[in-house]
Symmetry: C2
Subunit: 126 residues, 2 copies
Amino acid sequence: MGAAHDLLAARCPSRDVLNRVGARWVPTVLNALDAGPMRFTELKKAVEGVTAKALTETLRALEYDGIIDRVETPSVTPPRVDYSLTPLGRSLLEALNPVREWAERHVGDIAEARRRYELNSQAEAH
Amino acid sequence: MGAAHDLLAARCPSRDVLNRVGARWVPTVLNALDAGPMRFTELKKAVEGVTAKALTETLRALEYDGIIDRVETPSVTPPRVDYSLTPLGRSLLEALNPVREWAERHVGDIAEARRRYELNSQAEAH
DNA sequence: CCGGATCCAAGACGATACTG
DNA sequence: CAGTATCGTCTTGGATCCGG
């Protein structure tokens, strides 16, 4: 190992994917859709705190990359739009599993590191 | 499977980690440090396009979370500061491997999805 | 050499009002 | 219901100058 890491460099797919998947509302939206297809308003309720605008932008971006699918059922009053993960999106979620596990396992370590950092800052700024 | 995904929800470690790791310069910095410890200016050269300010902020954030280590060698003119991955940071990089592999494998699929999206947009806006 | 301080531009995001 | 339009704010990051 070691050589393959070059692909994480400046202009590479991994960086784009990480930036996209790390965007404000993306993780929560993906998680919500993992439970199954959802309509816009359902999604808005599931992703608490998001505004319609931010949600729309998030969904458009994910649709643009082929991560989610948007199906509009053309029936007047009321309109119906369903969002769901594509196979591509599903495979992405699987690739994200180790990150999720890492986060769960090390949430304590990070909190501890932050406490240490605070203490050191205080000590130096006496 | 299915139940464990709940941890990717609104207020959870995974989301924080994803947001942090998805920040603008983080992936490239981590990749650079994977090759070994580096001084500030080396890092600045390795991460092309970054400004001193953005790099400093990125490094502080990673140090704060215990992902990287900052060692200041107290010698006047010139100062010397070395950055390196902590064991925690190294384990994070490993967890990121599947994402990197996913990105490499599906970069073509994403490009194709984007082309399809453009075409559909054109077709509708005739 | 390693940044901190300051100013500024662009984009992300929220609040609100409105529409097919 | 599923957005769009508009506005204002807040954050990110670039540019530049300065200091230990």
